[in-house]
């Protein structure tokens, strides 16, 4: 009975949330002169959400560890940059083709995934991340090596999308679509297969689930989403370089999924929102507060707080922020019948 409550989704909130997302830029513009900066942060957030949703499908739902996911983002970004600026492909097509290229690479990494598992898989994906990075640098004629590439702004049906305002709508429309699509995947046969694989490969196989097919599919989908995120990042930032897509970024993404709550899609969204806000708004505020008291070199404090939050959340709240939210909601719903045991 309680399980049903956990799955309870108030669908009528969704149009409201969508409306909110579309209104935020207006609200921001009215509230502050620096709205462009905040829009920029929100854009990055939206791009990352697209990726972390994919990562959640891979790791949270299928249980496959990927420590090099930023590489897929890089593939998407560089593919799109090269296709649009050098080959002359229209942006709309690149928006479809580049993620597929990234998904294809996801497919490639899927092969080793069939042979190795757990921590070995993590290391393989990490190695893959390094290899892809090197590959991109090695293709110097197209990618300018490690110097970075300037990328043009997206052009859709003759309209050029430039500036944080326009970028926001492009990014978030896609982000919302991705979230909805991901939830539908999760509720479908594919999603159930993923979860079965995560919980027990042997049982899944015994139930007739084709491990190879679904593992590859999981990598493929998460690769596509990461590639989409990369494409958007390339065209809204107008500059990409291999320095950005390093293993630290991959780890950031995993932190976002874990802190938000793996295996729920919404968790990935909440986690990403939380971490991006933390990184850009809360920690600097904390720093300026602390500067008054102690003089610490700011940079390390940020990393330290980051590591600390990640650590604490893993130890004390392994179900993540979304898990916390669910607990709170159940608490309210069952009030005043709240056996203490259920909420430890």
């Amino acid at each position: 009975m309680i399980k049903g409550r956990y799955e309870d989704e108030d669908l009528k909130w969704i149009p409201f949330l969508i409306g909110l997302v579309f209104l935020i830029p207006f609200a921001l513009k009215g509230m502050t002169f620096s709205y462009k900066y905040y829009l920029y942060i929100l854009n990055i957030m939206g791009i990352y959400i697209i990726l972390t949703v994919g990562l959640d499908l891979l790791s949270g739902y299928t249980g496959l560890i990927s420590l090099g996911h930023a590489a897929f983002m890089a593939i998407g970004a560089y593919s799109s940059a090269i296709l649009v600026d050098q080959v002359g492909l229209p942006f709309i097509l690149s928006l479809i083709v580049s993620p597929i290229i990234a998904g294809f690479f996801g497919f490639i990494i899927g092969f080793p995934a069939l042979r190795v598992s757990g921590m070995y898989l993590g290391l393989t994906t990490m190695g893959f991340g390094f290899i892809i990075r090197r590959l991109i640098i090695a293709m110097r004629e197209w990618t300018q090596g490690s110097g970075g590439l300037v990328v043009s702004a997206p052009e859709i049906f003759g309209f050029t999308i430039k500036g944080d305002w326009a970028n926001y709508y492009l990014v978030w429309t896609l982000a919302l679509l991705v979230i909805v699509a991901a939830r539908r995947i999760v509720k479908s046969k594919i999603g159930r297969a993923f979860m079965a694989i995560r919980d027990s490969e042997q049982a899944a196989q015994a139930s007739g689930i084709n491990l190879a097919k679904y593992k590859m599919l999981s990598f493929f989908i998460s690769g596509i989403l990461a590639g989409l995120a990369g494409t958007l990042m390339a065209h809204t930032n107008h500059f990409i370089s291999t320095d950005h897509f390093d293993s630290m970024l991959s780890i950031y993404f995993i932190i976002m999924v874990l802190v938000g709550g793996a295996g729920t899609i919404y968790g990935a969204v909440i986690g990403t929102v939380f971490i991006v806000l933390l990184d850009n708004i809360f920690v600097p505020k904390l720093e300026s507060l602390l500067h008054v008291m102690i003089s610490i070199k700011s940079g390390e404090l940020e990393s330290f707080v980051f590591g600390l939050i990640m650590f604490l959340s893993i130890i004390f709240q392994p179900t993540g922020l979304y898990g916390l939210w669910l607990k709170i909601r159940i608490y309210w719903k069952l009030f005043p019948f709240n056996p203490k045991k259920r909420f430890t």
Binding site: Y37, I41, G148, F239, H244, S298
Partner: protein, 388 residues
């Protein structure tokens, strides 16, 4: 539920404000705010402490004298972690949120490349980016009109160094060992130019950023019979390279690009580093000229620990002087365009303790010459004048 929705919608529509501008951002009657992005927690975090400290040393001095036309200079420092994306975010924050007047000393070649679109969009100048990459003064790139470079580019350094090496003796073979990233790429460009100009071919060995193993590359240089080796690394690499070579009984003439001028190279390399020639593009901080003297005097007054004084600290100091000169020349009615034209009026100006700086509308490279420093009995001494 529905009503709440409509209410919120209406409220947000009503709050669409209009932008009001009074004069350029970051300038008031009493203050000029400038934005700096350093690496405070990443791979180059050492510099993140030294550079702003040097800059602030000069700014405080200027502020004590009343500032520039009565305006005191205040510098905000953001953390870019030497990462282009983070630097982009930091610059965005400085421009949109903190509304700085201009940018200064942003560190990292690819980081600066990443923010070019922002410079173009906001029309904001970037003075003295903290990198010696020649791409800073490449006028064909976006936003070039806003960037003012104060250092001699790596490519020029490499080219001049090759020329100098060729002049040292006949029958030599030049080798290059370079860091495989944008630094190295710029060096390669200069080497390529020298190769064409002098019809020679330089043996090239590369290593990855952060590497600490060079046995393979050194052995390749030996195999290639190189008599002169140019090192395009930072601090750790020249030390280990020279020590490895010395252990193998290989004693070519080592030459280094500007980052290798760090005094720690001579210190840690010991005997192996004897005779090492490195490139400098500014006056030595401990030399006996006007600006270095002023620098040391101010350091003493401010109680700067000896550990901090040195090449990087001095770099922050001297580039600050360039910025202030530009601000002065811009005049009392300060706007970004006037800063740009103020800087472009600098002609053979030697007031910053670097070298003669020249800018004009089509040339923002500022410095073009180098001075060579050699390690003699463990001490660095200049062995040439300004070479072009």
């Amino acid at each position: 539920m529905k009503r709440l929705f409509i209410l919120l919608f209406g409220a947000s529509l009503m709050t669409i404000g209009c932008d009001v501008h009074e004069g350029p951002p970051g300038v008031t009657n009493t203050e000029i705010i400038i934005g700096n992005v350093q690496d405070l927690s990443g791979p180059m975090k050492e510099l993140g402490k030294l550079l702003p400290s040097g800059s602030n040393l000069y700014f405080d001095y200027v502020n004590q004298g009343g500032g520039v036309y009565g305006r005191k200079i205040r510098m905000l420092v953001e953390d870019g972690q030497y990462n282009p994306q983070k630097t982009l975010t930091a610059v965005k924050k400085l421009i949109e949120k903190d509304k700085v007047f201009c940018l200064y000393n942003v560190i990292g070649t690819s980081s600066v490349e990443a923010v070019r679109p922002l410079l173009e969009e906001a029309g904001i100048p970037l003075v003295a980016p903290a990198t010696q990459s020649g791409t800073m003064s490449d006028m064909s790139r976006q936003g070039a009109r806003y960037i003012f470079h104060t250092d001699t580019g790596y490519d020029r350094q490499a080219s001049i160094l090759t020329e100098y090496a060729l002049g040292m003796e006949d029958n030599l073979k030049i080798g290059l060992i370079y860091q495989d990233d944008d630094y190295g790429e710029n060096v390669l460009k200069g080497i390529g130019e020298a190769e064409t100009k002098f019809s020679i071919s330089v043996q090239k060995e590369s290593f990855q950023r952060g590497a600490s193993e060079f046995t393979g590359q050194v052995m390749n240089l030996i195999k290639g019979g190189c008599t002169h080796v140019i090192i395009a690394g930072i601090v750790k690499e020249p030390i280990i390279i020279m020590k490895t070579a010395s252990r193998m009984g290989y004693f070519p003439q080592f030459l280094g690009i500007s980052p290798t001028m760090d005094h720690r190279v001579a210190l840690a390399a010991g005997a192996a580093g004897e005779g090492f020639i490195s490139v400098n593009f500014a006056q030595l901080w401990n030399s006996n000229y006007d600006v270095p003297n002023l620098y040391r005097e101010l350091c003493q007054k401010a109680g700067i620990p000896e550990k901090m004084m040195g090449m990087y600290h001095y770099y922050g100091f001297s580039t600050a002087m360039v910025l202030v000169e530009g601000l002065k020349r811009a005049g009392k009615m300060l706007t970004r365009n006037k800063l740009i034209s103020g800087l472009e009026s600098l002609k053979n100006w030697d007031g910053a303790g670097i070298q003669q700086i020249t800018y004009n509308r089509n040339d923002h490279s500022g410095a073009e010459a180098v001075m060579l420093i050699q390690v003699n009995s463990g001490v660095q001494v200049p062995i040439s004048g300004w070479l072009k």
